[in-house]
Symmetry: C2
Subunit: 179 residues, 2 copies
């Protein structure tokens, strides 16, 4: 598939750079939640066709599409697998877990094993352990996944739009260092 394995890494693009706040000993404290654990969560509203497959196999995949895949990604969000066979939309590969379908056209794929399923009433929250990650060889620079080459599709909550990544602001774990 022309992809390089990166082991169990949370290679999700993009990530919100949010501040998590909590009161500690009567004082407000804030930290970033950017440190990525080898786990992902996906919330699905039952009955979702995909949910039955995740429950049956105990595995699933997370596939990071590039911005030029917006139309087919949106199709997958609009139409349910109950009525529409989506298996022909992409070339499908299988990795170490053998039952988590990986989209060959997506520059990044994560293979996941179900760790927990939490009932959130309106949704089921699937917590998955990332078992392996894959990055397309032409999206790697100096041995690292290159976001500019991956060109990930970004979703905008609220206004329900897709967009691209913009220009770089600075280096993480660096620009905030005290002089």
């Amino acid at each position: 598939m022309g992809k390089t394995k990166f082991g169990p890494q949370t290679l999700l693009f993009p990530m919100p750079a949010v501040l998590v706040g909590a009161r500690v000993n009567e004082t407000a404290n804030f930290m970033t939640a950017a440190s990525a654990p080898p786990a992902v969560t996906v919330a699905l509203r039952p009955p979702r066709f995909t949910l039955s497959g995740i429950r049956a196999t105990g595995t699933f995949s997370i596939n990071v599409p590039s911005a030029d895949m917006a139309k087919v990604v949106d199709y997958c969000g609009i139409y349910s697998g109950h009525k529409h066979d989506k298996s022909g939309l992409f070339h499908v590969d299988y990795g170490v877990l053998q039952t988590a379908p990986l989209v060959r056209e997506c520059p990044v794929n994560l293979e996941c094993k179900v760790l927990h399923v939490l009932d959130l009433k309106s949704h089921q929250l699937i917590v998955g352990e990332i078992v392996e990650s894959y990055v397309r060889s032409d999206c790697i620079t100096d041995g690292q996944p290159d976001a500019a080459k991956i060109n990930p599709l970004v979703y905008i909550t609220g206004s329900q739009q897709y967009c691209r990544l913009g220009e770089i602001v600075g280096r993480a774990f660096s620009i905030g260092k005290k002089d």
Copy 2:
């Protein structure tokens, strides 16, 4: 605080527009995971100072910074509250939960109540119910949060960089409709 309440909504900016894949009845199926449930997950590596506060109060906040806050956000990611008092970095407001500190300088805030804490060994996964969300009044267009005005800071995994949102590609739940 010059902010408008939007109720329990997952106003996280940005979101990865990923495809979730699973094998259903021997066939590969894919869906988007963009539909936002009224819950958020945060993975923290113990011992994190913030984690003790979340456990003690059962509440926390998620604050969406704008791109021009990159430096102070990075500071919060580098230095631990164990040794550095971060309460003076921002103006702090409290909302309905009274113990989740909201960063006034952030254009979007989510107030969260702890639903579950899962032990992922290297990290603790906090699952929070969003109780209230706030958007700064000058970041609202036609009654909806406006991502361009919020100008959220985006984190790039792998290369560990911050960037801005880029140009719009298309409308979700629209560009993928069958003709």
